[in-house]
Each structure stands twice: as structure tokens, then as C-alpha cells.
């Protein structure tokens, strides 16, 4: 028989000894609860912070990167088509957009830490963007020098951006989305064990109070009752904070990130249509023009008539398929619906100028419309998309911040509440022990 077993048996032989045994068991379980609760709260907090400060911003920055590149390319095309002298406003827009894309690549790189898959995707993207910028510069230099073949460089640049860069960006988005989901899944893995340990401690605490009642014939042992209440409150707090912060993340994802993804798809698809249109314009390749029209129909199947715009604004079914009306479907406030309505109207303006372009035969006039109204209306659409993107980003990041805020004092509470409960329980049992000579 071991010393421990003998010690327990000796202690259990007397009533004060049995009180002491209850004290030891309760204290050990409450200490275990404190450790498990603290570990769970710490993991929950750091997981949430990782999503808030890392995975979330990476997802947003990746989408903004796609948006910046689309804008850079629209501006580069307008600058190219403006011929000599080059349109300084288009050139400035191109440089700003490319500089912003560079900064966003750096942001993503700094945020992703040492995730090799994401780093690889980012590296590929970065190389492709550098190649793209080189092609644009070659097109610009040869165009300004009136050297034949300048168009070839621009077409290569457009193709590179619309295929390789877009694919790299999609891979990067997928990788960061997986990171987000992984962080979200891992965030609360410690909570269930902590709740189980706490539940066991609670059961023992209740059993101890029942035993004390039977021994002392006193209904309530106040310190032990307070300890029980504290523990129940602590468990409730942990469960509620976990649930509510999880709900915030889910809501942020549904209201913010899913909208960001959809808006970004709208932007990328619209950009592909414009790129095809531009290539058709430069090379007279009719198949690219047909493709541009098909892609445009996936953005919106038909005209955005005033009735369609009004329906979107009023939250009614617009009865027109397309990514833009999908965006109207997920809009959950008047403000969002108004923003989607603006996208629709600006998209229609761009489509109207594109249609006008197709009817013009004079090359100089085609270029004038392409550089003037077509570039302006596309920029108008692009900026309206970016406005929606910014609203969604704010909503997403606010949701994540709210999730993190809910965990404000959780680590401290998860540690101190079981310790306070242990002090209460031991105090309550000691009161009974003191009644024995």
C-alpha cells in the first residue's frame, strides 16, 4: 500500500480529515481549471488577434492589390493610347496605382510571417508584376519613339496581367483564405477542455457542499456558495465570450469578407473585359472583342436600366443575372444597396462608351474616345467598386476588432475566477474544520 493511499485512508478516518480531503480535491481541481482556462483564453485571444492583425488584413490587402493592378493597367493603356505627348494624368494614375500595388505586396509580405506556401504565391506574383511593369515601360518607350511594334509589348502586358498575375493573385487569395480558416478553427480548440475541467471542478464543489450540508445540517456555506457562483459565472463568461467573438468573426466574414471577395471578382472580371476590349482595339482581333462582350455579360447580363437601378436601391429583385446583381443580393443595408446601384450606373456608362467605340471607324477618333470617355467611365466604375470594397473592408476589420474586444479581460478572468473560487471553497471548508477541537 502506498504512502499516499495510506495517508488518504488515515485522513478519511476522521470528520476533520474528510473535510481536509475535500479541501485538497477541490483546490486541485480549481487550480487545474485556472490553468486550463488561462491556456484556453490565451489561445483564444492570440488566435483572434492573429486573425485581426494578420489573416484579415492579408485578405484585404490581397484584394486591394488586385484592384490596384486593374487600375494601373487601365491607366497604362490610356497613357499608351494617348500617343505623343503622353497624357500625364493617365501616366500619373498608372505610377500611383503601381506604387500602391508595390506597397501592398510589401504589406502582405510583412503580414504573412513564415508561411512558405503564401510566400511562394507572393513571390510569383511579385515577379509577374515586375515583368508586367517592364513590358509597360517597353511599350511606352517604343510608343514615344514611334518605333513599330510598341503595341505588341502592351498586348503582352495586358495578357500577363489578365492571366498570370490574376492567377497568382487568386492563388495568394486562396492561400490566405486557408490561413484565415485555419486560424479561425484553431482559435477555440482549448475552450472545450477548459470547460470540461471547470465542469468537473463545479461538480466536485457542489458535491462538497452537499456533503458539508449533511455533516453540519446548515443549508448554506456562504464562502462555498460564493465560490460556486464565481465558477459558474467564469464558465459562463468563457463560453459566452467564445461564442460571441466567434459570431463576430462569422458576421465579419459574411458581411465583410464575402462581399470583399464578390466585389473583387466584379473588379477582376470587369477588368478582363476591358483588357480584351483594348487588345481588340489595338490589334483588330475580333475574337478578343467577342470575348470582351461575353465577359461583360457575366458582370451584368443586360443593360442597367433605371428600373434595374431603382430595384437594387429599393432592395427588390432586379431580375437580371450578373455579378453586380449578386452584389445587390448580399447587400444588407441601404448604404450598401446605394453603393451597388452606383456601380450599376457607372458600369452602364462604361458599356455605353465601349459600344460607341465599336461603331467608330476613324482610328484617331477611336483613340480619342478610348483615352477620353472610355477611360474616364471605366475609372469611374473602378472607383465606385473600390468605394464598396473600402466599405466592406471597414465592416470586416471592425467585425474582427469587435471580436478581439470581447476577449478583453478574458485571460485575467479565466485565471483569477477559479483561484478566487478556490480561496472561497477552502475558506468555507476551513470554517467547518475550525468547529472541531
Amino acid at each position: 500500500m502506498s504512502v499516499l493511499t495510506r495517508g488518504i485512508r488515515d485522513a478519511a478516518a476522521t470528520t476533520p480529515g474528510r473535510y481536509r480531503l475535500w479541501s485538497v480535491v477541490t483546490a486541485v481541481l480549481l487550480l487545474a481549471t485556472a490553468v486550463a482556462g488561462w491556456a484556453a483564453a490565451t489561445a483564444l485571444r492570440s488566435g483572434t488577434d492573429r486573425i485581426r492583425n494578420n489573416a484579415g488584413p492579408v485578405l484585404v490587402a490581397t484584394q486591394q492589390l488586385v484592384s490596384s493592378l486593374a487600375e494601373a493597367d487601365a491607366a497604362a493603356t490610356a497613357a499608351f493610347l494617348s500617343g505623343r505627348p503622353e497624357d500625364p494624368e493617365s501616366r500619373r494614375l498608372y505610377e500611383q496605382a503601381l506604387a500602391r500595388a508595390g506597397a501592398q505586396i510589401e504589406d502582405v509580405s510583412a503580414l504573412i510571417g513564415n508561411d512558405p506556401v503564401t510566400h511562394d504565391s507572393l513571390k510569383d506574383l511579385s515577379v509577374a508584376v515586375t515583368r508586367y511593369a517592364g513590358l509597360v515601360e517597353a511599350a511606352r518607350a517604343t510608343n514615344q519613339a514611334s518605333v513599330p511594334g510598341a503595341e505588341r509589348y502592351l498586348v503582352d502586358a495586358l495578357n500577363l496581367l489578365a492571366t498570370t498575375v490574376a492567377d497568382d493573385a487568386t492563388r495568394l487569395t486562396d492561400a490566405t483564405q486557408r490561413r484565415f480558416e485555419r486560424d479561425e478553427d484553431r482559435r477555440d480548440t482549448g475552450v472545450l477542455p477548459a470547460v470540461v475541467v471547470a465542469a468537473v471542478a463545479l461538480a466536485v464543489l457542489l458535491a462538497a457542499q452537499l456533503w458539508v450540508f449533511r455533516q453540519s445540517r446548515r443549508l448554506v456555506n456562504i464562502p462555498m456558495a460564493l465560490a460556486t457562483l464565481l465558477l459558474v459565472g467564469g464558465i459562463g463568461w468563457l463560453v459566452a465570450a467564445t461564442f460571441r467573438s466567434g459570431t463576430d468573426i462569422e458576421r465579419a466574414r459574411a458581411d465583410g469578407y464575402d462581399s470583399i471577395s464578390l466585389t473583387s471578382r466584379i473588379q477582376t472580371t470587369a477588368y478582363r473585359s476591358k483588357a480584351d476590349e483594348t487588345v481588340a482595339l489595338i490589334t483588330s482581333d475580333q475574337s478578343r472583342r467577342t470575348r470582351a462582350a461575353e465577359t461583360a455579360r457575366s458582370v451584368l447580363a443586360d443593360r442597367a436600366t433605371p428600373a434595374v437601378v431603382d430595384a437594387v436601391r429599393a432592395g427588390r429583385e432586379p431580375g437580371l443575372p450578373g455579378l453586380l446583381t449578386d452584389a445587390a443580393g448580399v447587400a444588407d443595408s441601404d448604404r450598401e444597396r446605394a453603393a451597388v446601384a452606383e456601380m450599376l450606373e457607372r458600369w452602364q456608362r462604361y458599356q455605353d462608351t465601349s459600344a460607341q467605340l465599336r461603331t467608330i471607324t476613324d482610328a484617331a477618333q477611336v483613340r480619342a474616345v478610348a483615352v477620353g470617355p472610355a477611360a474616364a467611365t471605366f475609372n469611374g466604375f473602378n472607383f465606385s467598386v473600390e468605394s464598396v470594397l473600402s466599405d466592406n473592408r471597414d465592416q470586416f476589420l471592425e467585425g474582427l476588432a469587435s471580436s478581439a474586444d470581447r476577449l478583453g479581460y478574458l485571460t485575467l478572468i479565466a485565471l483569477l475566477v477559479p483561484l478566487a473560487a478556490a480561496v472561497g471553497a477552502l475558506g468555507g471548508l476551513q470554517l467547518r474544520i475550525n468547529e472541531y477541537p
Binding site: P88, E89, Q96, R313, R335, G372, A376, G380, F383, S387
Partner: protein, 378 residues
């Protein structure tokens, strides 16, 4: 529509500093009643603070009739620096309301207010005419998509001259303002970003990519031109009077002022310099803690209706940032229709290529440049 005596947008009587402080005090008092969001209750009256003579006189009453919202339209916005010093810093800087629901600072000042969190987001759901913002003003790096501001009027700072005083000679470049034949007869505008930007263009630098070094080089040229008497003085809208009296033979000037002046002095010319010109705009924003954001949004929506915007354009004769204004002016007929063909109000693509926005430098650098510029202008 009769053109108004202007000063549009950029300066005004200096007496108003005291009035400004009084307005600020009223604003603080207005902050006393707050609603459940911690914002002051809307008094029921929309309060708009704009530059003087910068609106069609009927716009306010027409808005009141259309919406039923009374408007207190205050024309006391006398300058961005002054507004920061006497209104924004003492109120918004201390977390208090300004007492206004719409204010109209120049674009760089809007960027600065946004940076400090002093501007409310526009309630887009009440502004369907937001879709009428000219795309060129949606891409500002400090507010992409114009979620916080809506441009009011756009101007060009170029050259105005009196051919009778230049010996019949046409002035085509900013560089010509530095020639000895015009010594002591040249004026420049007192807005640092415009004058420095235009001088940068003469030095082959691009104001839309301004750096401290290129701006300082321009300041050196201005300093020396002022010191040797080439530049008579720096003015706000007083260049109109100086051109009229013959004090200036040529000067940097704001497009809207000169178009209005040409109604009575058709001999005065305005040109976009060959090197390029500076484009600027003043923009409507809703100050933080305004309780009347909804009424402010209604006001913005009203101003962005092309027909209403066309009336404002006809009155102030600055470039409108509202799509559809040209068509509305043409449809109005008469003098308004002639404005629709004005190349300064509706610059063609070729001209647009030569218009530059001043690039925002960081606040500290701009403050230092402003200090040095103020030392030159005196």
C-alpha cells in the same frame, strides 16, 4: 442668370475672423444637447459654411422649398489656414461639433481633416446623385471613391493679362512673367500650392509629383523674383482689381474670377500656360459630430442634380465637377448655352492633359513650405 461679383472660393473680408470665433462659440453651445449616439441633436436647420459669392443666389431657397429643411447659409469661409486655426482646431480638435453640417474646404485641407478623423462618411443612401461625380474626382488618394467628400467647384490657376499693358504682346507661359519687360507689373496668387506648382512647371518639375526639393527650388525662384521687384505682390482674389486698375499687367489668376471679369472687361485674357496649369477644387464635407448628416446629404444630393449644378456654374463660372452640367447649360439656352462652349469651363482633352493637381506632401513638409512661402509673400 447673372454672374455674381466673385471672390469665389478663395478669400474674403478679414473682419470675419471675429465672426468666425463667435460662430465657433455658437458651435460649442450647439454641442450641449446630444442624442443617443453622442451626436448633437439636429436643430431642424441645416447649417452650411461656404466661401463668399460661391453659389447661385436662388439655390438655398430652392433647396428649402424642395426639402422643407430651412438653411442657415453662412458665407464666412475665408481661407483654409484660418478655418483650421479658428474653427476646426478649437472644435473638432477637442472632440466638439463645429456647429455646421456642411463645410467646403479646399481639397488638400479636406485630406488633412480626413487624416485627423474630422469628417463624417457621406450617407450614400440619401445621395443618389453621388453617381454624377466626375470620375476624375473619385480617385483622390486620400478618399478613393469619394466616400467622405463631394467636390463643390473646380478651378484652374493660370495666367490673366491685360494686352494693353503688355504692349499687345500675348503671354503664353509662366516663364514670361519673369521677363524684365514685365518687372514690377506681375502678380502671383497667395495660395502656396498654386504659385509654387506653376513655378515648378517652369523648372520642368511636375507638381503632381512634388517633392520638398522641387518645391524649394521653385520657392528660391519666387524669393529672388520678389526681392528684385519682378513680382509686385501676392494676392488672393484682389488680382481682379489690380488687373482692372492696371496695377498688374499680368498675373496668376483663378479661372472663374477672370471669366466673370470678362463680362465687363472682355479685353482681359485668361490662358492655360504652355507649361501647364494647376487644377484645384473645394469640396463639401460633413464635419465630425455634426447632428445633421441626413440634411447635409440632402443638400449634397440637391447640389449634384445637373440642373441645379448648372445654375451654380452659371452664377460662379467655375468648372463643375457634376456630370451632365454641360448638357443642362446647353438646354437652358441664352448666356448659359454660351457657357457650355467655354473652353475654360469645359476644357478639351488636350487642355486637360496640361492640368495638374498639387500632390500632397506630408503635413509637416507642407507646413514648412507654407511658412517659407508666407515669408516671401509678406
Amino acid at each position: 442668370m447673372t454672374p455674381q461679383p466673385r471672390s469665389a472660393g478663395r478669400s474674403g473680408p478679414s473682419l470675419s475672423r471675429r465672426r468666425f470665433l463667435a460662430l465657433s462659440a455658437a458651435a460649442l453651445a450647439a454641442g450641449a444637447c446630444r442624442n443617443s449616439n453622442g451626436l448633437p441633436d439636429f436643430s431642424g436647420q441645416l447649417r452650411v459654411l461656404n466661401w463668399s459669392d460661391y453659389i447661385d443666389p436662388d439655390t438655398v431657397s430652392r433647396f428649402e422649398q424642395a426639402t422643407g429643411t430651412p438653411v442657415d447659409y453662412v458665407e464666412e469661409y475665408n481661407g483654409n489656414e484660418e478655418a483650421f486655426e479658428t474653427l476646426f482646431e478649437p472644435t473638432l480638435g477637442r472632440g466638439r461639433p463645429t456647429g455646421f453640417d456642411v463645410v467646403v474646404p479646399t481639397y488638400w485641407a479636406v485630406a488633412r481633416m480626413l487624416e485627423r478623423g474630422w469628417v463624417r462618411q457621406i450617407p450614400l443612401e440619401r445621395v443618389p446623385n453621388h453617381v454624377n461625380i466626375e470620375p476624375a474626382y473619385l480617385g483622390m488618394p486620400w478618399d478613393r471613391g469619394a466616400r467622405f467628400h463631394m467636390p463643390w467647384q473646380v478651378g484652374i490657376t493660370g495666367i490673366a493679362y491685360n494686352p494693353a499693358l503688355t504692349g499687345g504682346r500675348q503671354i503664353r507661359t509662366v516663364n514670361e512673367l519673369f521677363e524684365p519687360s514685365l518687372r514690377g507689373k506681375v502678380g502671383m496668387v497667395s495660395e502656396m500650392r498654386e504659385t509654387v506648382g506653376l513655378v515648378m512647371l517652369t523648372q520642368g518639375a511636375d507638381p503632381s509629383r512634388a517633392t520638398r526639393a522641387t518645391a524649394e527650388r521653385a520657392l528660391e525662384r519666387l524669393e529672388s523674383a520678389k526681392a528684385d521687384g519682378q513680382i509686385k505682390r501676392f494676392t488672393a482674389d484682389a488680382f481682379v482689381g489690380a488687373l482692372t486698375t492696371g496695377e498688374f499687367a499680368a498675373c496668376l489668376a483663378w479661372s472663374g474670377d477672370i471669366i466673370q471679369l470678362q463680362q465687363t472687361r472682355p479685353d482681359i485674357r485668361f490662358v492655360i500656360p504652355a507649361e501647364g496649369a494647376i487644377r484645384w477644387f473645394d469640396s463639401m464635407v460633413i464635419p465630425a459630430r455634426s447632428g445633421g448628416a441626413a440634411a447635409a446629404a440632402d443638400w449634397m444630393n440637391f447640389a449634384y442634380d445637373p440642373a441645379n449644378a448648372a445654375r451654380i456654374t452659371a452664377a460662379v463660372q467655375y468648372i463643375s465637377p457634376v456630370l451632365g452640367v454641360r448638357e443642362a447649360l446647353a438646354a437652358a439656352g441664352g448666356a448659359s448655352a454660351r457657357l457650355a462652349e467655354n473652353p475654360i469651363l469645359f476644357p478639351d482633352d488636350e487642355t486637360r492633359r496640361r492640368l495638374y493637381f498639387w500632390a500632397g506632401l506630408d503635413t509637416a513638409t507642407e507646413d514648412e513650405l507654407q511658412e517659407r512661402f508666407s515669408a516671401i509673400t509678406g
